[in-house]
């Protein structure tokens, strides 16, 4: 069972590289043969010399980042990218979604499809495809959306997970909200699940938990890769009958995104700390899970600054007015525990029906994966993938800002000239308003 990763644009290629690096070093560490074999089969194929080659396709409209990723991977000495599994051009998409989606995407469709097909054919069994990209720029968002559409056409029966990096709220690119709205609205129709990391949140983790003074993109990407890796590494699931699951993406989406109106997944991981202090820390499962649960219901993305006042509503007061606005209702949650004494961990708190929407029973809404193998040097590690209202507010902000710009028709001509009409914008706004309203109605 293997996952083929498609790295798109600058962000996608950097995060993808970090992810493979963490997965590879985690898989090769220590004496844990089954885990290591399962992990390697999932993300790498082995050459006749025993080299690990990532099951990945790298796509960008500029050569710089791809070349960096390839050479850094080769330097690591543990793994590398495939020699011909990348594609780049000389000129970028200019942070314009329309340029990526309408021009670059269609122009290079055949090459991209061929690269992906080659990787897919190397797998004994395709567990699914994972496209990694940001939503702010032009290539990752525009070409990424187009590529996802092609993948959906070619592999209609495969699981497709999109990993999206959301931009800083303060803005890196002036039209980032346009690009985000267009990307999200399109991916909502194509993807099986959309896993989101917000740059703002990850940045805070870097500064407050990891105590990094001058935060670089590399640090941010490292945190994202750590969280992603803790989801994607082999685990024992309810369906896997005591062996490592062979259907990671299928079980992920089956646990979380069965409903077509709810596809946005957020992630939080505990603990996260600088590697220097890890040696002096001990963790207990009850304390970790207590924190994680409170992070979930108070919608806090990290251990610091958890609001302990938020409580799940009692059965009688399950109405909109009485539930505090800060309570985060979930549709479905997937808890992944890795490390020592994992079988003794008590997870009943996450099965509480009060955490979930009224129309889905907590047995269906809550799933648990476990692995007795510690992950990425953390003795114990708990990750919660949540389909909840956690992303409602940032999404609402994003759509609101984009709408304000659209109302004054700012920069619209830049999109129209590549073939994205105002109608297309309106369609995208409408579909995201529907998503916002669906999530709003969860409680």
């Amino acid at each position: 069972m293997s996952i083929v990763t498609v790295q798109l644009g600058q962000c996608g290629n950097q995060v993808g590289h970090e992810l493979f690096d963490i997965i590879c070093s985690d898989a090769l560490e220590g004496q844990r043969k089954l885990y290591s074999t399962a992990s390697c089969e999932r993300f790498f194929h082995q050459t006749t010399n025993g080299e690990l080659v990532a099951r990945a396709v790298l796509i960008d409209m500029e050569p710089k980042v791809i070349n960096q990723s390839i050479s850094r991977a080769a330097k690591s000495g543990r793994w590398r990218y495939g020699e011909s599994s990348h594609f780049s051009q000389k000129q970028g998409s200019g942070n314009n979604w329309a340029n990526g989606y309408c021009v670059h995407g269609p122009r290079h469709r055949a090459v991209v499809e061929e690269l992906v097909r080659r990787e897919v054919e190397r797998c004994d069994r395709l567990a699914g495809l994972m496209a990694m990209m940001s939503v702010a720029g032009g290539t990752g968002s525009g070409v990424g959306t187009y590529a996802t559409q092609c993948l959906r056409d070619i592999y209609p029966k495969s699981f497709i997970l999109n990993h999206l990096t959301w931009p800083y709220g303060t803005g890196e690119v002036i039209v980032q909200n346009y690009n985000s709205v267009l990307t999200l609205a399109h991916l909502y129709q194509l993807s099986d699940a959309i896993l989101v990391h917000e740059n703002d949140t990850v940045h805070r983790i870097c500064s407050q938990l990891l105590n990094i003074k001058h935060i670089s993109f590399g640090d941010v990407n490292g945190v994202i890769a750590h969280q992603l890796g803790s989801i994607l590494q082999p685990a024992l699931t309810a369906d896997s009958h005591g062996v490592y699951s062979r259907n990671p993406l299928g079980e992920l989406v089956s646990a979380l995104t069965c409903h077509p109106e709810y596809k946005l997944l957020s992630v939080c991981t505990i603990p996260q700390m600088p590697s220097s202090s890890m040696a002096y820390s001990t963790f207990s499962w009850p304390s970790l899970l207590k924190h994680l649960r409170q992070m979930l219901i108070s919608n806090t993305k990290m251990e610091e600054g958890i609001d302990w006042q938020v409580r799940p509503p009692a059965g009688s007061e399950r109405t909109r007015s009485l539930t505090g606005p800060s309570f985060n209702t979930s549709l479905a949650n997937l808890l992944i525990l890795r490390g020592k004494e994992v079988y003794s961990a008590e997870t009943g708190g996450f099965g509480d029906p009060a955490l979930y929407t009224s129309w889905l029973s907590s047995e269906e809404a809550f799933n648990l994966w476990k692995s007795p193998v510690s992950f990425n040097k953390y003795e114990k590690c708990a990750t919660l993938v949540s389909n909840s209202q956690a992303l409602l507010r940032p999404l609402d902000n994003m759509v609101g800002k984009a709408w304000n710009m659209f109302a004054s028709r700012a920069y619209i001509h830049q999109y129209v000239k590549f073939g994205i009409s105002e109608e297309d914008f309106l369609d995208s706004f409408t579909s995201l308003e529907q998503v916002i309203s669906s999530y709003g109605q969860l409680n």
Partner: protein, 421 residues
Amino acid sequence: MQRSKASVRVEVKQVIGALCRLLAATGLESVPTPENFRRAKFGGGLEVEDQFWQLLADILQTSSSVSCEASAQLGGATDYRKLVAAGLWQTGYHADWMYGRQGGEGEEGGEGGRCSSRDLLLALGWLLATGKLEILLTQRVQQLDKTLLTPTPVNPPLPSELQLDSASLRKLQWLVGCLRYQGRTLLSMQEERTRLLHAVVVASLPSSVSSSSDQSSTVLRKDCVCMQQLCDLLEAYLNWKQVEKVFWTWMDSVVDCHLTDPVVKRPSHSPNTGARVCHHGNRGLEKLEDMLLRLPTGQEAQRRGRGDVEDREEGRERLHGGSDSFCLPPPLSSLPCLPCRPQAYRAMLQTEKPVRHGRLPGEGARGGAENPDELPASQAVQELLQTEALLVERRDRQRLANRMQLQKMIGRLDQLMLIPP
């Protein structure tokens, strides 16, 4: 011209060959050669006929249109043929020869419903066109491919009172999504299994030659033979599907041949059999169509009833009785509508003189006067004139009565203002 004809003939022969291979691959034992198909078109000899009897019987039996037990009980060839006719009848096929009486009193050969091999060929065409071929194919595939799952209908326990509020709807949507994902997972598992099976087969092929006595290898070899047959079958079907059109064009020519060729004996029905049969390819059909085209249109009159003679008599009585009372006349439409009434009849051609004749055209010509359903045209004209006279008379009377009634009413209502229309 000559050459192209010859090439068409060759092509047809190849196409029929493809059909024969497909029929043989579906497991039918006696399949005629393409050459015998050609001979059958021109009414080939007894030998060809026997082959087609056998083929039809096989197809009907294998597709379980007739039961095997029934055929096992039968001994004689005539019984056997009866069974085929019965099977064809069940599939909806009708032809003259199927209704022939078996027995000694017929004119020649002792069989009333004698059929030629061309009739049998046409029957075969019918069976192919009704999808028997696909049924045979499906059955054969199920025999050969034991890994095929036949879906068993599952009735999940649904809550008895199914609520349709938005919450249950969302729950249902969630469950549907769940099922869709499960389906995809199963599909990918099946793909993986296929890959592994392929790897096993590839790896075991050379070794199975050496270890011949091994039991598992015999099973494998059996499976291999099955797979080979399956491939052949599917390939034959594909080949057939590609050229099927040519076959049907040829079958058209067989039908044409059947319609025009005077050499073939026409089944001679005795006029007393009384069975109403739709004649396939009967020239009478063309004549009838011709007649129908020449008829004046105006079918709406038929809706008002058949217009039998008794009906008309009743009508007349009603007219007489009705005029005496003061009640208003029934709406005009309920009266027998004179000018268009004859359209309730269908015209039928008679050898000597044309007759009007009710209901469906029967077969054969019978004396028009004897049959109460039939009505010669001259008589009909007479009747129509009579009725017209009656109606005119009735109309006048009714007018008179109306006037009288109106005057009475005026007498009663002094203040009534009458405004002319």
